[in-house]
Symmetry: C2
Subunit: 104 residues, 2 copies
DNA sequence: TAAATACTTAGACAAATGTCTAATTAATAA
DNA sequence: TTATTAATTAGACATTTGTCTAAGTATTTA
């Protein structure tokens, strides 16, 4: 929990998470999005990994980073103790609104 | 958003929030729960207030602190962008299970 | 093999953070 | 009014944090 809040307490790292929301990225691709040296990027990614917010896998000379949201569920649970669990939807997913009508 | 994560990035401050969940407390009552000097406590409370997580009102020589969860909703909304908004319950509150039975 | 590319590790350093003691302000009690 | 109590403000100081440059490790390409 401590590592989680620590990891989230930085705008660069939060932005990294938002980038990864759209899909996996290599360390270099992430670095391209920031005006910061690669070592600094590497360090931020390390903190995110320590918090369990991202996973990294090596593919050849590239390292791909993937968002891991399971640890955010823990944060969500913590939050619910304050905002009241009434915000949580415990009911089963609603049926699709009828896929026979429109596609897009 | 920055002040919020900053305020939450400390175990003492998070514990303070949990204490206030059970009810309002004066600065002194809060200080009693920690092995830390009052000025340090005061400083932590100040950061919580800056983040909008607590409100403070002066009553005589006492200052009472109250939990303010509205800013946590903002965090909740941010979180939902990651964990998937399906967890959010958007339906109206369910009717009370029948108030004619028990009082408590 | 040698050079280039992708990334991390090591170490320095300024800025931010958490804690303390001492002093200050405000309100109550003697 | 003077003393006491509750709390904050000011300022010092060690630790942590974010950033950088330089160097190191793999991996791919020439």
């Amino acid at each position: 929990m401590n590592a989680l809040f620590k990891a989230l307490n930085d705008p660069t790292r939060r932005q990294m998470l938002e980038l990864l929301r759209k899909g996996d990225l290599t360390a270099g691709e992430i670095a391209d999005q920031f005006e910061m040296t690669k070592p600094s990027i590497s360090h931020h990614l390390d903190l995110l990994r320590q918090a369990g917010l991202v996973d990294s896998t090596k593919n050849g000379q590239f390292v791909t980073y993937t968002l891991n949201t399971t640890v955010l569920d823990e944060l969500l649970a913590w939050l619910m103790n304050f905002t009241g669990s009434s915000l949580l939807n415990t009911s089963p997913p609603a049926p699709e609104p009828d896929s026979s009508k429109k596609s897009s």
